[in-house]
C-alpha cells in the first residue's frame, strides 16, 4: 500500500561505437501496496515491476498513523506505527513474462490512551504477480528517441499473515493486522516512458478482497501513481536518480458478517520524493511520502508519513 506509486530508474549507457545512440537499461520499481498496515487497511508491501531488470532485494517500510481512541469528538488521538521488512524480487519467464514476488514481515505497535500498548509481529501476506509485456524496450542498441513500455498483469495475495478480529476492537483503524486473512486478487497496469536521462512512469492497480475465515472482508483497494525522474551519471559505475511523484489510494468500506463496518474506507493522496543510488549491480533507495489530502476511516485515522529504504541486486 504504500506507495503505490512508482519509483523509476532510467539508465543510459553510452556506447563507443555509436555516440549518438545508447542502450537503455530501464527499470521501474512500482510499489504496490497491500492492505495490511496501510492507510485504512493494513501493512504494506511492494513489488518490483522493473521493466527490463530482474532483481532481488530487501526493503524496510515504516508507516506512521494516528487514530481516534474512542467515540467522542474529543477522544484522544493515539499513534500507530506500522513496520514492514520485506524480501522482494522479480524473475523473467520467457521473453514476454515476468513474475514478481513479495514476502513481508510486519511488526506493528500502538499505545492506547490509557497507556496500555499492543504490538503484533509476524509473516504478512505473500503476494505473487505475473506480468505480460505488451510493449517492451527494444533490444537493439540502435534505439533512438523515446522508449515506451507497457505491462499488464495480475496475481494473488495469499492469507499467510494472520488476521485476528480482536485487533479490530481496540481502535477504529482496522488495518492493525498482519494480513487480511483472505485470498485477494490483484490486477495491475504499469506504463513507462523514457527519453535520454528522463523518465515518467505511471501505474494503476486494483485489489479485489474476499471474505476471510472470520467473516471479515476488507474493502477493495485502488492504487495509482505517477512519477517523474532523471538520472545523473556521476561515474562509469555510479548513478543517482532523484524522483518526484504523486500517488493515491482509495478504499471501499469493510464488511463484517456481511454488514458494512462503520468508519472504514476512504482515500488518501500523497506526494512522494525519492532518491536511488546505483553502483554496479546494486541499488540503494530511499523514499518519503507525505499526505497532501486524506479522508480515511471517516476522518478518524490519519496517515502522518511513510518512509522506505531498500537495497536491491540486479540479476
Amino acid at each position: 500500500m504504500v506507495v503505490c506509486n512508482a519509483f523509476a530508474i532510467h539508465k543510459t549507457e553510452p556506447t563507443d561505437s555509436l555516440q549518438t545512440t545508447a542502450t537503455t537499461k530501464h527499470y521501474v520499481f512500482e510499489d504496490f501496496c497491500d492492505t495490511c498496515g496501510c492507510s485504512g487497511n493494513g501493512g504494506s508491501m511492494g513489488f518490483g515491476t522493473g521493466l527490463d531488470t530482474n532483481f532481488a532485494g530487501v526493503r524496510y517500510i515504516s508507516q506512521s498513523y494516528q487514530s481516534r481512541d474512542g467515540i467522542f469528538n474529543d477522544s484522544p488521538w493515539i499513534d500507530e506505527n506500522f513496520n514492514t521488512l520485506q524480501a522482494w524480487g522479480r524473475v523473467p519467464i520467457g521473453k514476454r513474462f515476468l513474475v514478481n514476488a513479495i514476502v513481508p514481515y510486519h511488526f506493528h505497535d500502538r499505545e492506547f490512551a490509557d497507556k496500555s500498548s499492543q504490538d503484533i509481529s509476524g509473516l504478512g501476506d505473500i503476494t505473487v504477480l505475473g506480468f505480460y509485456k505488451i510493449l517492451a524496450k527494444q533490444d537493439s542498441i540502435m534505439v533512438v528517441g523515446p522508449q515506451h513500455s507497457l505491462q499488464v498483469g495480475g496475481g494473488v495475495k495469499m492469507p499467510t499473515g494472520s488476521f485476528d478480529r480482536a485487533n479490530n476492537t481496540g481502535s477504529v483503524n482496522t488495518s492493525f493486522q498482519l494480513g487480511t486473512g483472505s485470498w485477494d486478487y490483484v490486477t495491475a497496469i504499469n506504463y513507462g516512458l523514457s527519453h535520454n536521462n528522463w523518465g515518467v512512469s505511471a501505474m494503476v492497480n486494483y485489489t479485489f478482497k474476499t471474505k476471510n475465515a472470520k467473516d471479515y472482508q476488507f474493502g477493495n483497494q485502488l492504487n495509482y501513481g505517477l512519477n517523474t525522474y532523471k538520472t545523473y551519471y556521476l561515474s562509469d559505475n555510479f548513478a543517482l536518480t532523484p524522483a518526484l511523484g504523486v500517488g493515491g489510494e482509495n478504499y471501499s468500506e469493510d464488511e463484517s458478517y456481511n454488514l458494512s463496518v462503520l468508519n472504514t474506507g476512504g482515500d488518501v493522496f500523497f506526494g512522494k520524493l525519492s532518491v536511488e543510488a546505483s553502483y554496479k549491480k546494486y541499488s540503494l533507495g530511499v523514499t518519503s511520502m507525505l499526505p497532501i489530502d486524506q479522508n480515511l476511516n471517516n476522518g478518524k485515522v490519519e496517515v502522518k508519513n511513510r518512509f522506505s529504504l531498500y537495497l536491491n541486486i540486479n540479476i
Binding site: G70, I71, T169, G170, L259, L262
Partner: protein, 281 residues
Amino acid sequence: MKTNFLKSILVSFSLIALASCSSDDDGEMDNVNPGQVTLEFDSSFAGNELILGAANAANTNGEALTVTRLNYIVSNIVLVDEDGMEYAYPKENSYFIISEDSNDALADNTKIILEGVPAGEYQAVKFGIGVDKEKYDQGLSGAGDFWDAASAYDMTWSWASGYKYVNFEGGYTTSASGPVGISGEDFKVHLGRASDEVTNYTETTINVPAGSAIIVNEDMAPEVHIITDASALLTAREAVSLEAYGNAIMGGEGAVIVAANVPLVFKVDHVHNNEAGNSSH
C-alpha cells in the same frame, strides 16, 4: 467429527421441531441458539466525553455545567429485529441502574448484559428510562432487591414517592448576566413519578446505524455501544434553565420538560459483533 455431524443433524431436527411446534401468532420469537448481548452506555456531553468534575461548554441557556453524577434507571429492554419482531427481555430481570458517580464508594455501572437472547439480527433497542406504573403498583414486595440497589445509588425517595429515574447533579455557572452572574451554584435534577397521571416514565427506541445489526447467536457476544448525552437532558427537545427552577428540578413542570427530553438523550453509536469469549478493548 462424526459426533459433531450427528449433533448438528440432531440440532437441526430439534430446531425444525421447535419452529413447527410453536406459534408465531403471538409475535414472539422462538428462543433458539440464544446468545448474549451487552449494552454499554458511554456518557457524553454534547459530543465530548463526559468527565465528572470537569466544566463543559455553556449550553443554549448559557449555563456551563460541571457534572458530578449521572445515574439513571434503564428498564423493560426490548430488541427489535429486521422484520419488526420484538423480543422483550424477561420483565422481572429488566431493571438496571446505570451510573457514573463522583462518589467513589459507588461503583460505576455502564454495562447491561442480557443473557439468553434468541438468535437473530436486531436493528433497534427499545427501553424505558425509569420505572413503569405496573412495576410501581406491585409495591415494595414486588420491587425485590432492586429497591435496595436503587436506594444505594440514591435513586429512591420514600416508597410512596418511588424511584428517581434520573439523578443528575453537579454545579454550573452562567455568563448570561456578566461576571456578577451565578457562579458555582450546585444543581440537582431528580426525575421521578409525580402521580398516576404524570408518571414521567418514558421509553425510547434507538436504531443501530444504517447497514449495521446486532447479530445474536450462541457463537457471538455483540456489544451495543450507546451514547448517553448528558447535555441533552436539559436541551434535547425543549431547553430548560436550571436557574429558572432555582437550581433544582425535582418535579412539577420542570420535570415534565426533562422527561420529554429523556428519550432523545440516547443513540446507538456502533455495534461490535464480537465472537463469544472475545471482548473488545
